[in-house]
Symmetry: none
Subunit: 531 residues, 2 copies
């Protein structure tokens, strides 16, 4: 019997998420990250059901996946009705996958047995028993996912429990109770798991979906009621509203209930691994994600900021370092001196003993905020502002003489094109460069790179990864002010800059040039004097 553990299904159930498509190489990479995170089991996919998953298990068994902690599990189904498990090709494929654990899904809701499987209550029990016994005979450890268990239990508790007993008596080590449709609330999960815990001897697991926004709470409730196996996916990936977010569940169980499921040193890597997996899935991280979200420990309220200086624990539910996150202060119109001082410290500028400097920065930020600037999503622009106040000026990599951007359209049926020309001086040389693009920012970006590439070859590695436009005081219509936020990466770090101007092209230009300046400064590039 295995001990209390976390069972990851990112590669199988998580991959059901809308817009998520993983190659075999992606799956191998993610499995490595999951092993680093310290989960107990990794469900790799459904061998036999699709060639990609069969290939994944083949390559894993061939040595392409070396795991230090986790045990690999293959997922599949009970045999077909009125057949023999040992002869069922799907069961055969599970054995051939050579994973130490096989997890099979079984119907436990009598209505699904009749209406989806089109078979009888008894035959379904026989299917569970035969399949588990066959896999155990082949030397596999067997886990069973009891599909629609909670809906099934509420409809016919005796039959739902019979399915668990059939699995257990046939040799299953764990039966995971699944809230397949995700409609449960914690009070129901608590109640049902506690009753099943009393009625059976097998190790119980929990598998939740987030359709009521309670996947995490339901998983924790099941653990409190006796479950020893918790399923989830990294970043809560999954069909519909997703599965239980594994890092949130594990953090709650470990840091709130005091039951260790992940080596604390590995949990300190949670933010990094969550983001690394996002890179592979190409689904942008969700800022508000508990524990590992970029905003999870970000404070904006001035009310809080002054107290945060006294003791961060007053306004934090855990020490963010436990999951590899850190506290951030957001500079905004709701904040004052305290949050700017904190933000400065965070960026490496100690303003504590420089009250005049601090006052000057606060004054300047307040004035700019009145014009529509906001630094809570533009750390890089804020740091440039700090540099100006601390050092007297920001590094000047070039002197702009003029720029122009033209969009024109000659027919209603073809897309309008943009063309930008910049004139500037860098390293003592006047440069005139023109760039084209499908939009003004794109065209300006191309022109600026062209003008600067000889002087600053590092720019070739810069990539714009996000771009947002917001119209302020929109009641003034097209006379309104425009705020542009740009996110850039050089492969090592990601930074955000802001531009505000009545003209959206001008605002983009400001954010763009701030981004270039910040990126070059952070890479330690010396400005080549302008003339």
């Amino acid at each position: 019997m295995s001990a209390f553990h976390v069972y990851d299904t990112t590669l199988r159930d998580g991959a059901q998420q809308e817009g998520l498509n993983l190659s075999v190489a992606d799956k191998l990479t993610i499995a490595g990250f999951l092993d680093d995170l310290g989960v107990g089991y990794i469900e790799g996919g459904w061998p036999g059901a699709n060639p990609k998953d069969t290939e994944f298990f083949r390559r894993a068994a061939a040595g392409e996946l070396r795991m230090q902690n986790a045990v690999l599990a293959a997922f599949g189904s009970t045999r077909r009705a009125n057949a023999v498990a040992a002869d069922d090709p799907q069961v055969r494929a599970l054995i051939d996958a050579r994973a130490p654990v096989v997890t099979i899904v079984a119907k436990s809701h009598i209505r699904h047995v009749h209406e989806a499987l089109h078979t009888t209550a008894d035959e379904n029990l026989a299917m569970v028993q035969d399949t588990v016994e066959t896999l155990v005979r082949e030397g596999r450890r067997v886990f069973v996912d009891a599909e629609h268990f909670f809906d099934g239990y509420l409809a016919d508790p005796a039959y739902a429990v019979d399915v668990i007993r059939a699995a257990s008596e046939a040799g299953a080590e764990v039966v995971a109770l699944c809230d397949t449709n995700g409609g449960m609330l914690p009070s129901q999960v608590s109640d049902v798991v506690a009753k099943v815990f009393d009625a059976t001897d097998v190790g119980l697991g929990i598998h939740c979906h987030n359709d009521t926004g309670c996947a995490v709470a339901n998983s924790v409730a099941a653990v409190q009621a006796g479950a020893m196996h918790v399923q989830g996916t990294v970043n809560g990936y999954g069909e519909r509203t997703g599965n239980a977010d594994l890092i949130t569940v594990a953090s709650n169980v470990q840091l709130k209930l005091g039951r260790e499921v992940i080596d604390p040193d590995r949990l300190r890597n949670a933010l990094h691994l969550s983001h690394a997996i996002s890179e592979v899935t190409n689904i942008a991280p969700y800022g508000r994600q508990p524990y590992v979200g970029a905003s999870a420990f970000a404070h904006k309220a001035g009310l809080h900021a002054s107290a945060l200086r006294v003791d961060p624990d007053l306004y934090q539910h855990i020490d963010p370092a436990l999951v590899g996150n850190s506290m951030r202060t957001l500079v905004s119109d709701m904040a004052g001196r305290a949050s700017i001082e904190l933000k400065g410290k965070e960026l490496g500028y100690d303003l504590t003993d420089r009250p005049e400097l601090l006052a000057r920065v606060v004054e300047r930020v307040k004035g700019m905020e009145q014009d529509g600037w906001t630094f809570d999503a533009a750390d890089a622009s804020f740091e440039l502002l700090l540099v100006e106040e601390v050092d007297g000026a920001r590094p000047r990599y070039f002197e702009t003489e003029s720029w122009r951007c033209i969009t024109d359209s000659f027919s209603e049926d073809s897309p309008a094109l943009a063309e930008a020309t910049v004139k500037l001086t860098a390293a003592g040389e006047r440069q005139v460069a023109t760039g084209e693009g499908n939009g003004p920012v794109n065209a300006l970006d191309h022109a600026l790179r062209k003008a600067l590439s000889a002087t600053y070859p590092d720019l070739a590695g810069f990539e714009l990864i996000d771009f947002r436009v917001r119209i302020l005081d929109a009641t003034q219509g097209t006379d309104a002010t425009t705020r542009v936020l740009i996110e850039t990466t050089d492969g090592e770090r990601i930074w955000s800059t802001i531009g505000v101007a009545p003209n959206m092209v001008h605002a983009s230009w400001i954010a763009l040039t701030d981004s270039f300046t910040y990126g070059l400064m952070k890479r330690g590039i010396e400005p080549q004097s302008a003339g």
Copy 2:
């Protein structure tokens, strides 16, 4: 004593979210949407704490906010230590806000009383009592937010309850227990709320943050333990990981626990209102959001797809229509036939008996949505599309030959200017006109008016009142697609149009010309033939 209700704090606590900045006009618009949703109370902000919120309450009281259901609440704090509430300028500002309800935040954690307020346990109780009494004397209904209540109760239950009693005895109608740091789990919330319910007589409320991923579950647990007032924000906006998502909580309480908090007819509008509010905040909707997320009823699993055809209820936790959502199977990007039919009816086009026409419109909308169009917030553009399908074409008031827009800047210290030239034919005459503006849309608007004013004098009365830009597929940086929404008025009606194109100036042009066409059509102006 008020009945069981939902208390919305999107405009106050929700606005603490990173990257969210609302103008006074935004707040008035959102308040209207919240009223449409059917929440009981709307917390508008903190008058006196910042000029924007003071202005919001001034304009609301002056008649700019007409609510059918909701009651407006002003948020503030207890008076300062060792002062008199009636003389406290912050308390004065709350009274001057003229909202029927005032909600004040009070410390209920003894450590915060000492370390953040720097005062004594007794003085904190006096602050609560004096402030509540003063507000009640002024004819206000008073709610109290007991800050850090759960942490406070776990540290010193007697003092935490003393704070509630002080508020209650002074005349507070509701005391909301706040999990300010968001660190609680449902079992703790259940336990504490049940104990406080037994120990006090006042109506209890719940205010949760999502730091453990349990904000929704904690809110529901509190309701099950006796709370009659549930706080939340639309789309779960809020500081750090956000507040409890109001629509998810209300849907759970109403559809799972069977306690009505929102008129079911209004709940059917939840998806629409959630998305409309996203448009105002300019924060992209989260696809995996429970109930109203675009993926919330989207099925990908092949296993499910076949059974779904038998009976959708087998794989859905509720009927998605109850919250205005619909089931989607991800093989085909199914657009809502029913909602298009409904929308058509709303605009005066009965498509019920015209299945072929309806099918054509659905097909076209589906295709456009794949390119980034959305008609949720652009009724006028949708009506033009309907007119094209019903009548064969939209009225053509002019034929565009070409247009061009130039933004240029000749110095870093002065704003960039925009200049647009349009060439078109109206009433048989070729027109070439140039307009200037502080931004491209402004310049195009001016040029277009100049070219058309002689033929269509009505245009002089059109005014652009709102303008929004959103970047889609932002991970592609500046190569992304741009969506522009424009709101226009002619003094009688207000209409919204949309444009989508890779180039944001081009997208603006599309929305702008749609707006002119729609406005002239609705005023019954005959197109002057183009040639």
